[in-house]
Subunit: 434 residues, 2 copies
């Protein structure tokens, strides 16, 4: 008979603090849900003197993290430090000392996940990480359990709130990227070093985790093709708007139904303005999951923030605590698939290219010929009336479906023809309605 | 070491047939996910000679259901018969003989759920029912596990595809209820006896299940206040459209943050046309969940249909099979809350009333006085220019928030004033943006 489940918290930032609050404020409720008292056993932080949350007993604070992860009386270690090291060392220490782990650390899982899952399995403990993807949104558990009787074909989502906020602001206020980023940083919606977010790396980590769960294959950060939003200009946004489209940074993972190859990518995409993902605004996240039998599912909610993320962490704590009380663990993460990773250059999509072309007779014919030479079929073409200072016009070309490799080669040839044309931007266009 | 998990299927209709297909066609995949072979042990149907699905081995067919549920070599009984009896007898037989149960039977769970959960707990087996609410949408597992570290405040959803389809057709095609119902029946989107759907009872069963999981209290079908769509007229639809609103049948369960009282209801509601639920069309379902920490979450997908529902059933089979292999069970469903059920008459909402009023001086004053006498504050009032054959005009009144009791009393007084006015319809209006 287990009387209490003792939880060690690593990190007491916005998520850690809210997690502590949920555990302490809901102690009676959680006890009845779990069948044992859920208590904080310790809270490890860099500087205990900086912590003043009323729900964190100061006697529990320590800066000796490894002492906490090694303690025999700790059942669950909740890692909310983020980053690769020392988080990885702490998580492994916890698992190897017989504690289950709850973590929100997508970077760690996207880099070392399979080793950590194996360490948990070997030690007969749990590792749960609902908060690592989509903040408050239950997406990990549905992929890990609810959909395991089906064949997932594709997952497509907005999984980074910072970039979604920035693109949103650029779209609704007509501001340029640098201005919006600066404002987002001032408001705390973007980090001082925003590279992980705007470079697409945070979304890529989440893509790797989702692909691993969906396709039962070891997919890492390095397997994900990443393009961020740093090159998205206000002119791209204006062009999208003129075409009744919206630009979103999407994480897309899919498995080819014919050859089984898995692809995982993060890139800005132009979506029809009435697409469900086009309407996901600000810091909200949304994930579409397509299954062979389930058809389309969508999960939507707050992708970040202290309390929302803590909601997911606390749900994992309750789940893992119940397992400890029952003397069991949840399902492990079976990674049996040997499916190949697709080459990102083979990925197919429609594209929109913004070109700058000289205003002379024959330039359209020349550009069209370059596209034709590469076998790229043009779906729509539009030349803007306005001239720039050099007397050039913008030319917008939307293609039919073509591989990434071919569109890059085509764009290179267009860029070569310097006397007549240059490439302003290339962006994927998804037209399938949702 | 468990070599195989043997599954008995009760019922081989559209969902049963697709469940069998997923098990048989994905046998190798499921074996690697579960760690043991998942096999059909038997398929009980009323008339085995009627079954011709290529993936169901004819040797497995039987019409002796209890022989199947009592067999020692059956690990999981999948109940897809529906209805109260004999489904309840079969499920209890399975649980009492040591088999875990997977069911999609919302009517059974809304009526006898807590007894069945207790029977499962007592016998040390699982009862899983993801498909009972929202078809393919993972909503049961998120409520049962993901959100158990948070306090759920409200759930609001479109959980019946038939009524959503009918209201959709009435809205987009301007047809009346009877015409659309007949067409839906011809197309197989509505049952020959459509009472359970259009009367709101199917949605009410789902509301009871969601309330039970969310609030940890025994909430049954009889606790749910039910209004169907059978009285929704094309005039109501037209009035909604004129106000830029859409009529949806919603299941709403909530817990009062002050007195803890739980309310559960199903009723047609006018939503702003740009509300996320307003855009859920046809047979799709969508469920909003509001948590204290998580904030708004939305789950969206196919609420019915053979393959989508089978996706949820198969996910439960895998989950339960993994538990059998590990010699454990999932969390039980703790129903510790003694919170009172709120009286539906105390439920507050804005309302829209459509009245028919005589075209004479003073009628507006008289109607306004009745509302004022009941303390009902009018937010908007609109008199239509057109006269009917009796020379009466339609008067649309939208109120501020008021209890159901008071609006009914007010409407009764309006109806009493027969010489001047009568009540055409009363409907809730939700204005809060999502």
């Amino acid at each position: 008979m287990v009387d209490s489940i003792r939880v060690a918290l690593l990190g007491a930032g916005t998520v850690g603090s809210q997690t502590a609050r949920l555990i302490v404020e809901q102690a009676d409720e959680l006890e009845r849900r779990v069948g044992a008292r859920v208590e904080l056993a310790g809270v490890a932080v860099l500087d205990p003197s900086q912590i003043s949350d009323p729900w964190i007993d100061r006697a529990l604070l320590t800066d000796q993290t490894l002492e906490l992860t090694e303690r025999d009386d700790v059942d669950i270690v909740v890692e909310l430090i983020g980053g690769l090291e020392p988080a990885r060392t702490f998580v492994l220490s916890a698992l190897n000392h017989g504690a289950s782990v709850v973590t929100a650390n997508k970077a760690l899982l996207a880099k070392h996940g399979p080793e950590l899952y194996e360490a948990a399995r070997k030690n007969g403990v749990d590792i749960y990480f609902e908060a690592a993807v989509g903040g408050a949104i239950p997406i990990v558990r549905p992929l890990r359990e609810s959909m395991t009787g089906d064949r997932i074909t594709r997952i497509m989502g907005i999984v980074n709130g910072t970039t979604n906020y920035i693109l949103d602001e650029m779209t609704t206020k007509g501001l340029d990227f640098a201005t919006v980023l600066k404002d987002a940083q001032a408001k705390g919606f973007a980090e001082a070093d925003p590279t992980a977010d705007i470079g697409g790396f945070d979304a890529a980590a989440k893509a790797a985790i989702m692909a691993t769960l969906a396709f039962h294959r070891d997919v890492r950060m390095d397997d994900v093709h990443v393009e961020g939003i740093e090159h998205v200009t206000d002119s791209d946004i204006a062009a999208a708007r003129a075409m009744n489209r919206v630009i979103k940074l999407l994480a897309v993972v899919e498995q080819d139904s014919e050859n089984g190859a898995i692809s995982a990518g993060v890139y800005p995409v132009m979506l029809p303005a009435d697409h469900q993902l086009a309407k996901v605004s600000g810091s909200f996240n949304a994930v579409f999951v397509e299954g062979e039998a389930s058809d389309d599912l969508m999960f939507y909610g707050r992708g970040a923030g202290g309390a929302p993320t803590a909601s997911a962490v606390a749900g994992d704590i309750v789940t893992v605590a119940r397992h400890r009380v029952a003397g069991t663990t949840g399902p492990d993460i079976p990674l049996y698939s040997q499916a190949p990773m697709a080459d990102a250059a083979d990925g197919e999509s429609s594209y929109m290219l913004r070109l700058s072309v000289a205003d002379n007779v024959g330039v359209l014919a020349k550009v069209s010929e370059i596209f034709a030479n590469h076998g790229v079929s043009i779906r729509a073409l539009q030349q803007l009336p306005d001239e720039d200072e050099q007397g050039n016009h913008e030319l917008w070309i939307t293609t039919h479906s073509v591989t990434d490799r071919v569109i890059r080669e085509t764009a290179e040839d267009v860029a070569q023809a310097k006397d007549t044309s240059s490439v302003l931007s290339i962006m994927r266009v998804f037209e399938d309605a949702q």
